[in-house]
């Protein structure tokens, strides 16, 4: 589209993409101003699934907020559980036992792969390929079966506790995870042959949907969106939490900044997560899974606490202010999807509508995480 020529606003066509559109994966609404099929302006409209999670935290005790964390980004619920557990553990100065830390890493990384599998299937579905969705959900099902045997739940796990984990992993889980790792490596090869090399996918993604590094910095985008733009940033390595500094893994970074780069970052991340799980299982120590000195009534001392983790979608930060009582005074959630979504308005300007849908899919948004 000619960038200098702009239709007057009253001659443009206004289209609501969502809130009930299949490609928006939830209740995201984007107000598009179109010139033919080209986008002049796009405004994301938020708040359709706003549930006041931050306010809810101020109305309940510290442990009672646990189920809420898994409902922000339901696809990578364990990372949210982990961040909240780590945050309160930092406030209470609780030392988590080694074994519990390893279990947390193994389950969270498994959950990360499951999250990427949902994105993968849904993303290719957005581009018009239905079959891969069935294959990726088959892989995800294997992970969910494993996690269900440990946590008892398939989606909103609420598995971690302050000071450790409530249930230990058993030999069946470890054997199942090992089988899954070797299976998944083969499947990734199959996905590359089936999808990544597919000419239609390449033409839809390559050199389309630019999100350069400056734009990422401007909006605070993180995760695969930033890494696809060449920003080498991952909380797991830049600010190591839990025991991530003990494992060898690479942070995949691509410099092309197009939809294809973000796609490749996620594909490589799955392999890196498998590497982490493999190392964690090999060095899994024996011992207790809960810390000894966890108080019955959680009352973190007066103060301001912050903790951040890397979720499947980017940097999740939680800031808690405690006044010394059993109820949080304030809990601020910095969710990755919120920043990643707002980038869409600027990034899709001048694009074709169909390409903008591909760009939207490559951002991997979970709308409850945006709206909180």
């Amino acid at each position: 589209m000619n960038a200098e020529y702009q239709l007057p606003e009253d001659e443009c066509f206004v289209l609501n993409l969502g809130p009930q559109h299949p490609s928006t994966h939830g209740v995201a609404r984007i107000k598009l101003t179109l010139d033919g099929e080209y986008i002049c302006k796009a405004e994301p409209v938020l708040g359709y699934i706003h549930r006041m999670h931050e306010k809810m935290a101020e109305n309940r005790t510290w442990p009672q907020f646990f189920p809420n964390t898994g409902r922000l980004d339901y696809l990578h619920a364990l990372a949210y559980n982990q961040n909240y557990a780590c945050l309160v553990e930092r406030a209470l100065a609780i030392e988590v036992p080694e074994r519990a830390e390893y279990i947390r890493v193994i389950t969270t990384e498994l959950n990360r792969i499951a999250s990427h599998m949902v994105w993968y299937g849904a993303f290719v579905l957005d581009l018009g390929g239905f079959t891969p969705l069935l294959y990726t959900f088959d892989d995800r099902e294997q992970i969910l079966d494993l996690l269900e045997s440990v946590t008892g739940s398939r989606l909103t796990f609420s598995y971690f506790r302050f000071g450790g984990v409530p249930n230990d992993i058993d030999d069946d889980f470890i054997a199942g995870t090992k089988t899954f790792i070797s299976r998944m490596r083969e499947r990734i090869k199959m996905y590359h042959a089936l999808i990544t090399k597919n000419v239609i996918l390449i033409n839809r993604l390559k050199d389309i949907g630019f999100i350069p590094a400056e734009m990422c910095r401007k909006y605070g985008a993180s995760g695969p969106v930033a890494r696809g733009a060449g920003i080498d940033y991952d909380v797991r390595r830049n600010e190591p939490y839990s025991i991530y500094d003990r494992f060898e893994f690479e942070i995949p970074v691509y410099h092309e900044a197009d939809s294809m780069a973000r796609y490749m970052v996620r594909m490589d991340e799955i392999l890196q997560s498998l590497r982490i799980i493999e190392q964690a299982i090999a060095t899994l120590p024996a011992g207790p899974i809960m810390a000894d000195k966890v108080p019955k009534l959680i009352r973190p001392p007066k103060g301001d606490y912050y903790h951040a983790v890397e979720t499947a979608r980017g940097r999740l930060g939680m800031r808690a202010v405690s006044d010394g009582s059993a109820i949080p005074w304030r809990l601020k959630l910095r969710t990755p999807c919120f920043s990643n979504m707002l980038i869409f308005g600027e990034a899709c300007r001048g694009m074709l509508l169909a390409d903008a849908v591909a760009l939207f899919g490559s951002l991997d948004l979970v709308i409850p995480d945006v709206d909180k």
Binding site: Q64, F65, D138, E148, T156, S158, K197, N198, V199
Partner: protein, 146 residues
């Protein structure tokens, strides 16, 4: 020109290779669970709604009406009442209602129980027509259990 023809050939080959992969899946075994002809295996730790643990010593439940489950529930879906029977030192449970419509299956109540009176049921077929079907009377459920 040569690059153009090459791109067409490579593109066509990628589609054929993809079709060959999907064709291979046709001859692989079915991966989905054939519900309702086959029933899924429910793991031991499955978190269904809560239920009382049967105590063979008293032929009843282990609840001591401390109200910890009620206090710890984030959604306030448990309501219980106890009454003091004549001659008894402690309260006995008279009403234990679970409002399953607001329960988020977090399991905090089970962990909070000091006597281990609560457990998770393995029920997953919970479709119904009326909200009242999800107000469970746990005492009644325990008595009706074989």
């Amino acid at each position: 020109m040569a690059a153009y023809i090459k791109s067409i050939l490579v593109g066509t080959w990628s589609l054929i290779a993809g079709l060959a992969i999907t064709l291979r899946f046709v001859f692989k075994p079915v991966v989905t669970c054939q519900y309702p002809h086959a029933v899924p295996k429910i793991p031991d730790r499955y978190r269904g709604h809560i239920d009382f643990v049967y105590d063979p010593a008293t032929c009843s439940h282990k609840c001591i009406v401390c109200g910890m489950c009620q206090k710890t529930c984030p959604s306030g879906c448990i309501s219980l009442e106890g009454e003091k029977l004549e001659g008894a030192k402690k309260k006995t449970l008279s009403v234990y209602q679970l409002n399953f419509t607001t329960c988020s299956l977090c399991g905090l109540c089970v962990e909070a129980c000091p006597t281990g009176a609560l457990t998770f049921s393995k029920e997953y077929n919970l479709a119904g027509f009326d909200e009242k079907e999800y107000h469970f009377d746990l005492i009644k459920r325990l008595q009706e259990r074989p």
